[in-house]
Each structure stands twice: as structure tokens, then as C-alpha cells.
Symmetry: D3
């Protein structure tokens, strides 16, 4: 794709003048994941939609934040020893390392019969200022998790503890989550449709295009007419067709 | 099956004296999909239940209408050109062709990581008098779609636009939807359980049998007793066993 | 596993002094399935979580009861004769055989396109004092089933009658349900996370350990602090880590 | 389906004059499973093809025999005790109960990561005169199993022993195998395409129709011309179209 | 993607000077599907690999030809009447319409428990000069199909006739096959890895690039050294990395 | 499980007197994966069988070696830049780091529509003395890979290059492969059934038990009698029952 070298150039520049995260949150909180995926598709990015992870509670707020990644592999009985609980590589230690404003993105390999976190760890994340939890796995003690008010995108709930199926490996590594490559500090946006990743180097561009798209869509809707097939100019049709 | 030649005979007659659609809607709105699938099973029709498509909103009204079919195939980057947006074979053109009172039935090949329609096209369908949207795929911008109040049966929501995964081919062709063969003008009924197809040629018969079944079930329930194993006659047992 | 001979010894003793079911219900109604699966995992029992069966209605009460098992196999047109409806091996006969306080656990082989029971049979179960229905299949006429107020754990709803896909075989046999071996009289507990099986011979032990766990978790939560990574003793960490 | 009462009548008569099994084997060994499934479909039997079980060795002979059924449920650690090995309900005891000429049909619930039998038990089946093994699971020690020359239809091989995933329940019960209801004494035919079930009561009819179909197909092929679309009579077209 | 308008321009030119099919077959028969998918990926075409369809016989020749498309939808008992066999839209009529040198590409919706064609129709395709059969379904009477020597890419074999699961709709329409959009006259190449589609408008470009790639790979291999990490120039590394 | 603390003690000792790898290969080459999984199950290790990865060529030799791990995550268009090909984290660099006698174990996340390696990289592995390649993905250019004679366990073949679906992350990390946690230096054994992992700390114990098991099984088979149900002692029955 011819655009790539340019993109990687601008990537360097963008890093120099990185937008403060508060502005990122402020701007992207107004853009739907539908608009963001459309923008990224136009930039040639097709594999940024997290497949199959959904809001645990309908109506939870749109969430925006930098990804803090965590990685699990399958369980193995000889690794799940009492010693492992005091290992420096525990999920608890990972949570303590989470910066305020991040979104925890957890590679649970799509496992749906053991919950990665319950109410205690979710409450701890809320206290640390974590914005949301996103995983391709499930949570446990879902009533307790809902009570913490932590916004969660996941595949549902299951009671068994993580170690019944999973071994925690590490945090802030590149991971796979719900079919998408997630790197630490990529930006994640979640809403009622699900969750999308914006590569760190493309955040500024997405913000700019997203703001424009929202303005155009508002205008289209406010005209109160949906004669979409008839009178729309090619440019606006392209926008909404996507 | 011995019944087939007769059925095809009566099919011709029925077409001659086709029941007006208003009466179809009126009668079938009172019959559950549970009763309709039972009736069709007794007629030897086993593959009329749309598998895996569910009401987007619980409590949305039972919907009845003639199928208006739409067909997608997988996306291919060389077909998704700007020119394709002004193609006469667009989803927008299809929507403009929809008659009032129809149900849009969309073969999205079960794709769940790209939404076939968002709020703008759903609003347009409402304006056109389309009764419902039924698909084996998903919608996008689910909050917006729910706001249009269009009853939808689907597999959920995903933000990416259709063209991220799908190419629109045509409308009013025979299609596969959720494992069922759907022909234009077959009748679709959707309720809280999901959606069922009634072949166009069997609609009158289903209406008649359905009305009788509702009466018998009401009677059974109103007797306020469920001693089902004990005293029911063979005929009524057969009815409810199904 | 070294623990097994002991367990099987204690199993015999436990049978002698079997805890009355009312006490079982009383105690286990206060223990989450998250805690029960943790306890069973520590006892070496990894395959007791019913995979993929979920509460039909969010907020339905936690349910505890002895399993009353039912088994289906696939449908076969030559077996689904009118005679089969008066067979002594019908689902209706099974329901009549259910003792008060049991939980019906139904092996529907994970079939999701035919409902095992509708409102009439669910109403009958309520009348018989059945505590809940748990299946790896689905129900039909979901609006009617919800109206009976029978707590149900299942995979959702589908309108077609059971015989469209399933043949009923027998009751009170060992069955597979949602990936778990269920024997008559094993204890089942269902809550918002899903459902777990407690082998009959381990019920007393789980009750004792469960009561202790609830007390410790309450204490941990009431201390109002979640500095979980910092000050927790090894023992409490182990408890909650699970 | 109107044919059913008749069929069930003729079923009784057929039992009176049951064809000796040697003749069944003799006749059906000359009929492909393609022809048998076509005949059964015409009789209204759609669910008799075992889905996903395939010949372990290409070129193994067509096999015909009465079904001897075996049933597994999932493993549970508290059931897999040393005592269970001397249980009267072992797979070994089942094999000892197999009559000469039968086909062992094993419900392994589609489990593919534990092998139900290895070389020792397969060798024992050969010695007992068992014609073939058919399962929706897999075998273990596939090299050893192949060496026994027992014809096997299965999903492949896996090394772990059955008890890693499965608990044996019983034999000669109605079972599900590869999506089909199998009753003891139904007839099974396996060839390169896979395996099909003929209900016990329909065996004579299938034999008769099968012999005729083979004759017609031979004739059609021997005419050395495949101008199928052109000159075939409706009757012959129907035959081969199926 | 910036390349698209150019590509669509060159598409028009290419059509003017369309390469004769004999040269296409001659050139592409020497290029692996591995090289072709690499070339198409570099052109931005990611969705051209047919997923899950495999050579029926290992060692069958590499096949190249224009796609002749066929489309099935699910079966429906009221459509599968005796009249349907003499319908002008039969698979037999489709086969008679196939031009010499084409590859039949059949959308069977991934159905694996009914075979789309058996030995008679495959023999007819051989006689018509059809190069190969490619489907996301399966064939029936696999021994007979293999005897016809028609190269087939599919998912395996199943005995039941197509009408047990499928209804034939039409030929030479745009279809989905194995996850790929196939248009009549696209070029298909199949080898031991599986099958790939080359959009009609890109065939010349792929031929040219493919020829060059084969020359470079031959050179690299003939140098008899695989010190790939050490001394390769960036250009050659890129080539083989893909 | 009570055995765990002991095991972890003996683990430390074993490391002190680590068996040379040549002896491991020598001993374990004579033990089937069926026997090894049985031994590990008795030690409480249930999750060591790699699910779904199979020998690419039937009859390839049993392979034994230490795991050299490699990890992929999904592709992302902005990461697949020309620069990435000269990244120090390439699959080529990983191969150069492989020690003689290792088995490459590759986490390809089960992706089956892009091949992780083709003939050039497999030939390089052969030259480096790599014993085998094991992955939950597929290879590309399968004819070329087979020609290198590298023993491969995988899910089959697909032509598209790895970067069409995957991004390489790193080597010698803990990974998931085919549902099993694999750590660098664990021992892998592959044969016709598939592949099994032996945790590094349990290798000596498995070798000892494996040698004994082979002796007993040989004896049982050489007695030329399979009266398994009759006369076997409890101990030998237990052995073979597993």
C-alpha cells in the first residue's frame, strides 16, 4: 500500500508532538466506534475491530483510553502451585502497575469457562482510576463486577477462577485480543457496538477525521430527511455508505 | 412424502385467490412462532426456522410481512471502489425498491464483525413503511438503530461498515438466511423466540390451522390446570406435545 | 491424585449421615457459584462447571437442588410417530416423576434450534414444586416460559418443538449436560454466572468450606479496602486469587 | 407424514419374518451409502447420515452389521477412581458382550482430544468377530489400531486415554452418534463416504430398493454415455438426481 | 487505497487486449498458489484465498481456468418436488452450459453432510472438458468421483444427495465460495495448498509478476544455500518473506 | 493436589542432575505419546496434549526435543511495513537462534488461512539441525515443505504468506500452542497420534515410568492373548485401561 511510508513518517512526527491524553479522551468520547472503524478502513486498516467482545451492561458509557495489556496462556497443573500466587508476575501486580486513565486489555484466548477477574480485582481497578476492562474472555461473579461500576467489554460470565483454565504470563507485551493485535499505548474506544483499536501513531489523524465526520453526520440527520438515495452528493454518500 | 403433489396443486389455486396481505398480518399477528413451526412440521416442513437470529430488543412487537430479499457475498478489495458506491446495485437502491409492509430479509452469510445497516438506513426503512429487518448478520451503531424503533432480528452489533466484510449483490433473489431458503414474497413472522418462514403457497393453510391452534391452547390454559399427563385426549396432547 | 481414596471413604460415611436437603438449600443459597467452583477446584474437580448455559432472566434467584436428569438423542423420522406421544417415556411422564425441590437437568445435546419445553410444561413444573430447569438446549415460547416464573438456565429460545430435532429417551440416568457429567441426586447451584454441579458425595464438605469462604470474603470486603496486592496474608490471597 | 402409520404396521410384519443377518450383509455389501441415503430420503428419513465420522484408512472394505451401542459422558475426577476400573460397566465388559458380526457404535460426544480405544481393545474386537468400530470420537495409538486391521470410522486420533475426557456409562442403550439416533440392532453401513444408519424396521425395504437401484445405475454407467441432461426419462433422472 | 483508481483504469485497458486463455493456463500452471497469494497481497487483495477447500486427491495436477459459478441455497421440503427435477435451473443444465476449459466453482454454503455431485455428474464434466471442480461443500460417492479423474477441491465426502440439504438456484451469478467473492470469468488456480482466485482484471499483471517471482525463487533455491538470514538483499528477502 | 509441593522439590533436584538431552531422545523415542499422556494424567497433568495438530505426512518418525517457542499475534496493516522485514524480531532471526536438536513450537493462534513457513525456511531449519516443527497453524507450499523432509505437526496447508494474517512477536517466551502452555525447554514428543508436552521438571520421571510401561505393554502383547477382561490383575488392568 503506497500510503505506508508516509504514514510511518508522520508517525515519527506525531510522537514528537503527541496529543495529551486528556484531549484524546475529550475528542474521541464524541465519536462512535462506527465512525472510527470507517475512518480506519479508509486508511487501509481492516483488522482493528475486536471480534465478539461486548458491553457487559447495556448503556455503560463510551470509554476511551490507552491500552494496558495483559497476557494469559493455558493452565498447566504443574505451574499452578502455591508458589505461583506470590509470583511477581501475578494479575494483582499487573493491576498495581496500571496508570490512571488506562484501559486494561486482556488476552484470555477467548476462554469462556473461567472468569479472569471478579469483584475484588475490578473494585481495585476502579480505585486505581482504570477506565475500563476489555477482554476476549469472561468475568466471574458478574453481580459483584456490575456492582463495582467498572465498564467491562467481554464475552459474558463464568464462575470458575482464572487458574482453572489460564496461566497469567505478563503485562505490557504485544498481545492478541479478540482477533486484534494490541500494543501497549494503542488507544481503545468502546461503546454499545463493542470496542475498536486505534494504533498509537494514527490517533491524531483519527481525531481530526472523526470530528469532521461527526459534524457531517449531525448535519445530515438534522436535515430531518433521509432521502438518502435521491439527493446526496457523491462525497456525503461515500461517507455514510461506509 | 405423499402430500407434495397435492400441496403443489393447491399452491396454484391459492395463488388465484390469494389472501390480501392485510388479513395475513391481522391473523398471523395472533399466532406465536412456536405454533407456526409446529404446524409446518406437521406439514413436513422442517427447515423453516431461522437459526440464530434474535430480537435486537426484547419486547419488540410480533412482526408479519412478505419477504423482500437482499444478498451479500464476501468483500473483495478490487470490487470496493469509489465507483461501487454509485452502482445501481446498492443497498440504498434496494431500500428504495421496498414496498410498504414488507420485511427486509438479508443474507449476510452470518458475518458478525461488520454491520449491514446503521441508523440512517434503518430510519429510511421506517419511513418507507418497512415492517422489520431480519438478517443472519449484525447491525452497526446499535444505539442509533434502536432509536429508529425499527424491529430487528439479527445476531447483535458490530461497528465496522458492511464493506469491511461484504459486497452487496442484488435484491429479490432466492437467498439463504440463517440456514433457511427465502424466496421473495414468502411470509416471515418474528417474535421473542426468533423468526420463521411460511412458504407463500402455504400461507392460507397455516392461517387456518394457526387460528384453530390458538383457540385450543387458550382453552387448555384457561382451564387453569396443567394436569397434562393425566387427562388430555390424544388429540390435544399431540397438539401441545409439538 | 492422592486424595481420592480418602474422598471415596468419606463419601460412604457422608451417605450414612446425609445432610437433609433443606439445610443444603439453606446453606448453599448463600454461596456464589464462584466460591463453589473455587472450592471444587481445590479438591481437584475441574469439570463441574456447565459451559454455556445462562440465566434466561437476569436477576432470577440463586437456585439449589438435587438433579433430576433427562436425556434426549437426535430425532429420527421413523421414531416420531403418533404412538410415541403416548409412550411411557415421554417428557410429560418425566415431569410427573419429579420430586418437589429438584432441579430438572436436561441433556439436549446443545441443540439450539428446537425448544425442549414451552410454557405449558414449565407451568407444570412450577406446580410440581420443581426449583429450576437447567439445559444445554433452549426453551420455546420464551414469553410464556418467563411468565411461569420458573427459573431457567439455558442457551436461549427457539420456536420449533423438541421433536423437530430431538427424541426423548429416559429420565434419572447419568447424562452429559453442557459438558458436565450429571448423575441423579448430584446437587446443582445456579446463579447469575451460570450453573455448577456438586457431586452428591462432596456436598457436606462444600457446604462447610463454602460457609467459611463467605465469611472471609465478607470480612475482606467490609474492611473497605482493596489493597489486595500489598498487605494480604498468603492464606487470604490464595482464597481470593482462586 | 401420511406414510408413518403404514410404516409402523409393516414394521411389525417385518419383525415376524426378519431377514437373516447373513443375507443383509450379503445384499447391502453391494450397495453404496450414497444409494442407501437416497432411498431413505425418499422414505422421508433425513437424519440417518453420521456427520463427520470418516474411514480411518482409505480403501477399507464396505462394512455392514447390527449396531452394538456404547455411551460415554464427560469425565469427572471423583468418578475416575481406581474402583471404577473394576466396575461392571467398563468398556472391556462391553466388548466381551459384543456378538459376532456386530458393529460397535460409540457415542463419544464428538470429543477429539482423548482416544476411546487403542490397539489392545481393537485387537480384542477383531478376535470377537466385531465387523467395525464407528464413533464420533477418535482412537488412540493409531499406528497400533491400524495394525489390528479393524475397520474404523472416526474423527482421527489422539493419544490421551478416554478417561482424560470421558466416563463410560453403559452399552446397548439408545445413543446419539455423530448427530444420529442409534438404537441397538439398527443396521449400519460404512464405506469410503462415511457411515449411514438403516432403522431395523426398514432394512428389508432398503435391501429391495437398493438392489434395484444398483442394477439401474450399472445399466446407466455401462451404456458408456453420460448425456444425462438430454435423453433420460423422468424416472431415471429422478433416481440419479438424488 | 491509492492504487485503486489506477487499477480500475488499467482494468479497462486489459480488457481491450485480453490475454488468450491458453496463454493464461500455460503461464499460471508454473506458478504456485503461494506465489500468487503473495503477489495479490502486495496489490492489496487479502480476500482471495478459498478457505478450507482442499485437494480431494493428493498429487492431482495444478489446475487453471475461468470460474463457472453455481449457487445453492438451503433445502426446503416444499421446493424439492418431482417437478423441480425437470426445472430448467438444474445442476445438470448448468453442467451442459459449461464451456471447455472452465473450472466449476460451487457455493454449497460449506455444507458437509450432503454431496453436491457424484460420479455421474463428475464424469459428465470430464467429458465436457471442464478442468476442475471447486466447492466449499463435499462430493458423494467419493470412490466413483476419484475414478473419473476430475480434479476436485472440496471439504471431503458425504453420501446423502444434494437435495437432502441444498436447493440449486442458478449459474454464472456472483457467488460466495469458501469465504471468497467469485464472479464469472475470474481465474482460479488450484494446487496442493488449495485454491486462489485472481480477479479477471488483474490476471495479466499477476502473470507477469508471477513469472518473475518463479525465476527469482528458482535462482535462490539453485544457489543451494539457505543462509537466508545472512546475506540476502532487502529485495529478495521481501520476496521470500511473503 | 497434595503431590504438588513434592513435585516442585524434586523439580529443583532434577535440575541439578539434568539428564543429557541425548539420553532423553534415546529413551523417549521408544515411548508412544499414548503412554506418555497416560503417565502424565496419573501425575495429575491433564492439559499437555496439543489439540488438533497432526502429522503432515503419515509415517514421519517419532520426534523428541526441547521446545524452542515462537509467538505470533494477528496482523495489523500499519505494522506490516517494509521496515518490519528487517526487524530484529523476524522469524528468520528466530530460526538462526535455534539450537541443534530443538523442536520449533509455534503459536499461530490456530490460524488456518495463512502459512507460517514455506519450503525455504523449513529447509533452513533442517540445515540447522532442528528436529521438527509443531504449530497450531498451517504451512504454505506444502509440496515444497514435504520435500525438505522436515517432520511437521500442523493443521494442514494454506498458500497465503504469514503476514496476511499474522505478526511475529518474539521467540523463547511462554506461549499457547494448540491449547497447551509451552515454556522454552519443555520436552515435546510427536508421533502418528499428534504431539504431547512433558514439562521440563518431569522429564526424568516420565522417562523412568515410560520405560516400565513399554516393557509391560510388550509383555502383554507378546503373550499373544487379549483376554483382557478376564484374567488381568488389577495393576495391569489399570495400566492399560488408561
Amino acid at each position: 500500500m503506497s500510503a505506508k511510508p508516509d504514514r510511518s513518517d508522520s508517525l515519527t512526527e506525531q510522537k514528537a508532538a503527541m496529543t495529551p491524553d486528556t484531549r484524546i479522551v475529550d475528542v474521541l468520547s464524541k465519536v462512535t466506534t462506527a465512525t472510527i472503524t470507517t475512518i480506519l478502513l479508509k486508511k487501509g486498516l481492516r483488522n482493528v475491530w475486536l471480534r465478539g467482545t461486548q458491553p457487559l451492561r447495556s448503556g455503560q458509557p463510551r470509554c476511551v483510553g490507552r491500552a494496558f495489556t495483559m497476557r494469559f496462556i493455558p493452565t498447566r497443573e504443574d505451574l499452578a502451585t502455591p508458589e505461583s500466587w506470590s509470583s511477581p508476575k501475578s494479575t494483582r501486580a499487573a493491576i498495581e502497575a496500571m496508570p490512571e486513565g488506562c484501559i486494561a486489555v486482556v488476552d484470555a484466548m477467548g476462554v469462556v469457562d473461567a472468569g479472569i477477574f471478579g469483584d475484588i480485582l475490578c473494585a481495585r481497578m476502579v480505585k486505581k482510576g482504570v477506565v475500563a476492562l476489555i477482554t476476549d474472555g469472561v468475568v466471574r461473579d458478574v453481580a459483584g463486577v456490575l456492582a463495582t461500576r467498572l465498564p467491562v467489554w467481554c464475552q459474558g460470565a463464568a464462575a470458575p477462577p482464572a487458574i482453572a483454565r489460564l496461566t497469567f504470563v505478563n503485562w505490557q507485551e504485544p498481545i492478541a485480543c479478540a482477533g486484534v493485535a494490541v500494543l501497549p499505548d494503542d488507544v481503545i474506544v468502546g461503546d454499545d457496538d463493542g470496542a475498536v483499536l486505534i494504533p498509537a501513531g494514527l490517533v491524531d489523524e483519527v481525531m481530526e477525521l472523526g470530528t469532521g465526520a461527526v459534524r457531517r453526520l449531525d448535519h445530515e440527520r438534522s436535515r430531518g430527511r433521509c432521502s438518502v438515495a435521491g439527493s446526496l452528493s457523491t462525497q456525503r454518500r461515500e461517507q455514510s455508505a461506509l
